[in-house]
């Protein structure tokens, strides 16, 4: 059965055909202009819809594309074949340059930085007379003319762009991108690098926008500084929101609708733009997933993924060594000279009162934070200078104390995202096929106790860090979890388990490390730890066991 996106694509193709064969020159020109917007919106889906970064620079990149076309194709008289790569590469390169210094920024700080870029582009457009013609803009850009030619060229480019965007986000990229935009920390712990993925999305989006802007310049035969106004950016946001966030076909649909809105609302006269604002608001209110997303809600569900057992090859085994690690926050020492080993096939328990530094230690091992002093290594490889995603891929995976899957993300997608990351998925471009990944993910979910442990197992780790895995489980569930953890150790994996449930922990582990006030007070077998009077007084004494 056809998906809504394909049906909408078919309808759009029909609409284009009708305008191409029967439309007036004016209607065909409107369609050619809409193609430029469609390219911009398709690109915006990559950075905003897929990677989840609120970029406010897409309109500016559209303008850069238009001016590049105006300067190279118009003023310098470059032929089209030479100009085409330039209108894609110049905005992409400028976006890459602008993004490099601010790549660490998140959320609104990223939005602000991209807004700053957009304002600077607008200033150059309006005030750099020599380069951009200032308020007069650039005229004499070779025009494609009024006829069907411009429309054909424009929509061929849209077709190419849409195919490229679909290829860039296919297979395992889909779930990986969903995880990146849903929860950056969880993505890092799953072996994905949100910074790099957002950077790639930003640069790719700029290339698409540049092609769109150049198309507009060639359809109009001129470049006006209006192209750098912020309303272009607002229009782009409106296109992807109305069409459906993340969907390539949604972007095309949104661009067609927004592109034709002034025409359709012409009877309203000057107040048509009020209707535009209110219509956008109404769309957000009643169809937040956009037109494509709303259609998909009423479509039959996809077939459930069938579990496919992966080959249980022995994982690469290695010893995790924590050596002399210290960490303080604001002058307060949280960890002091912590030295600990987790050997292959061994389950080590980590206990200690609240605030003794257990979670901090796990955060340091998994790279969410860096130690002030000391080293952490897996086998021969130093981990304490690696980013969380590198650590996850190097073979140390963790679960979280209060795992909360990102909004609207199914457990299957979460585990699939980690599997894709393990197979080298980088968010955009080449990626493993989706169905085998999903089958493997379903298998892992069946085997593991929780979604979060399944996600960690998807990374096929040599060492697994579990932060209170038994919290909230009843006796039967704890038994099942214990069996799973022993089976994982039997495969040669090392396990470091933080747990408050002494009955569960003492029956499970080979050794216990006791953390008191940031120091390892004692490491030994469960019996030795139970018998130690200091530990009893400080910790176990408060728990009946």
């Amino acid at each position: 059965m056809m998906r809504p996106a394909s049906l909408v694509g078919l309808a759009i193709a029909l609409w284009l055909l009708v305008v191409l064969l029967l439309g007036s020159g004016y209607e065909q020109r409107l369609m050619a202009l809409a193609a430029g917007y469609a390219l911009m919106a398709i690109g915006y889906q990559l950075v905003f819809g897929q990677a989840g970064a609120l970029s406010l620079a897409q309109g500016a990149c559209f303008a850069i594309g238009a001016y590049t076309a105006g300067i190279l194709g118009g003023r310098l008289g470059w032929p089209l074949w030479a100009e085409l790569p330039a209108v894609v590469l110049v905005p992409a390169a400028l976006a890459g340059l602008a993004h490099t210094p601010v790549r660490r920024l998140d959320g609104h700080f990223f939005a602000l930085a991209t807004l700053g870029f957009a304002v600077l582009v607008r200033l150059v457009a309006v005030d750099a007379q020599g380069l951009t013609g200032g308020a007069n803009g650039l005229v004499g850009v070779p025009a494609f003319g009024r006829g069907p030619g411009a429309m054909l060229v424009g929509w061929s480019l849209v077709g190419l762009g849409a195919a490229l965007a679909l290829w860039l986000t296919r297979g395992g990229n889909g779930p990986a991108l969903a995880l990146v935009r849903g929860d950056a920390d969880l993505a890092r712990a799953s072996g994905l690098d949100p910074e790099r993925i957002r950077a790639r999305g930003f640069v790719l989006a700029a290339g698409f926008a540049g092609a769109g802007g150049a198309l507009q310049a060639h359809v109009l035969g001129l470049v006006s500084p209006d192209v750098a106004e912020f309303s272009v950016m607002v229009g782009c946001l409106a296109m992807v929101v109305i069409g459906g966030r993340g969907s390539v076909m949604g972007a095309v649909l949104g661009a067609l609708l927004i592109g034709h809105l002034p025409e359709w609302l012409r009877p309203l006269g000057a107040s048509y733009r009020v209707a535009y604002g209110l219509g956008l608001f109404a769309c957000l209110l009643v169809a937040p997933a956009g037109l494509i997303g709303s259609l998909e809600r009423f479509w039959p569900m996809r077939r459930a993924a069938r579990p496919v057992a992966g080959q249980r090859a022995a994982p690469a085994v290695a010893t995790l060594r924590i050596d002399g690690v210290e960490k303080s926050y604001g002058g307060i020492a949280v960890l002091r000279d912590v030295t600990l080993e987790v050997r292959p096939g061994e389950i080590v328990g980590l206990i200690g009162p609240n605030g003794s530094g257990k979670t901090t230690l796990v955060n340091l091992i998994s790279g969410l934070d860096r130690p002030d002093r000391g080293t952490i290594s897996l086998g021969e490889r130093r981990l304490d200078r690696l980013s969380p995603d590198r650590i996850a891929l190097a073979g140390v995976a963790r679960s979280f104390q209060t795992p909360a899957p990102p909004d609207g993300m199914a457990p299957l997608d979460l585990v699939t995202a980690a599997l894709a990351a393990k197979r080298g998925c980088a968010g955009f471009g080449a990626a493993a096929e989706l169905e085998p990944l999903q089958g493997r993910a379903a298998d892992l979910l069946q085997r593991a106790w929780s979604t979060d442990i399944a996600r960690a197992l998807a990374l096929d780790p040599a060492v697994l860090l579990l932060d209170e895995p038994a919290a909230g489980l009843d006796a039967g569930e704890r038994d099942r979890l214990g069996l799973l953890l022993r089976a994982l150790a039997a495969e040669g994996r090392g396990l470091l388990v933080i747990e408050h449930d002494m009955g569960f922990l003492m029956g499970l582990v080979d050794r216990v490390a006791v953390l008191l006030d940031g120091r390892i007070a004692l490491i030994g077998t469960p019996d030795a730890v139970r018998a130690d009077p200091g530990v009893r007084a400080a910790y176990l004494g408060t728990v009946p066991c």
């Binding site: 609120l54 210094p101 601010v102 660490r104 920024l105 998140d106 609104h108 700080f109 602000l112 930085a113 807004l115 700053g116 870029f117 304002v119 600077l120 200033l123 005030d127 920390d185 912020f230 607002v234 946001l237 409106a238 929101v241 000057a270 107040s271 733009r273 009020v274 535009y276 604002g277 209110l278 956008l280 608001f281 957000l284 209110l285 937040p288 979670t359 796990v362 955060n363 969410l368 963790r398 979280f400 104390q401 209060t402 909004d407 932060d467």
Partner: protein, 295 residues
Amino acid sequence: MPAELLTFAQLVLNGLALGAAYALVALGFVLVLNATGAVNFAQGDMVMLGGYAAVALARALPVPGLLLLPLVMAAMAGFGLLFSALAWRPFRHRPPIFGLLATVALGLALQEAMNALEGAGPQAGPALLGVGEIRLGPLGLSRASLGILLACLGLGLAQGWLLGRTQFGRRLRASAQDPVTARALGIPVDRLIAVSFMLAAALAGAVGLLLSGPYFVTPTSGTDLILRAYIAVAIGGWGSLRGAVVGALLIALFESVVAGYASSVAATAALYGAVLLLLMVRPSGLFPAPLGRRA
């Protein structure tokens, strides 16, 4: 005083008055941000609406701007209530990006509505303390700027008192920090949020009146203001009241001084360049909110 220094002091003084107005816009923005976590991109357009309200009231009632100020603020507070019902209530359980886009859409509709009603040309609002200039030794300060400074000082202090010293302020801060617990303690969180929208809109109305006199008002005059407020709040550390005020003053001083010595184009370019540099060095602003994730 040497002439060089005098020019500089005059530029700083002008910048302070403008910065005070930016600070009030930013305070309204932060008020809603803290109460709901929502980004109100229409705060600038509310200033614009307040400006037109002042223009309309001044046409009907030829009295000094100072007397119109409470009227405009009350009318805008009513609008704030309506705005919260439209732009916040329906979106409170959705990802924050939807609320943000909703305020963009409503702001756009407001701009275009005023454009259709009043045209794109600038309109002059009432003066708060009359017109003319006051001499402060060798420096000059227009009555309009003095009015802005005094009104912003008064409103800023009033807001600080309201949030910091009253039971209402404590409840508001409690429900902003942890709405679930606040609700469990019997605090009417939804009503408090509606009130913070009303306060933010009233502040916007005040700024609208203050700026409509000396700087006029056009349908798009909110756009520049919201961009300044957004920068102020971001470099001030996303949610810090003190940071927003400091950020707004810094922006205005920077603009005033650079524009005074070079041009307003150079000022804008330098401002955004400086913001990019600042974000490179301090990715969470000047006064970052204490963040932490209990993994």
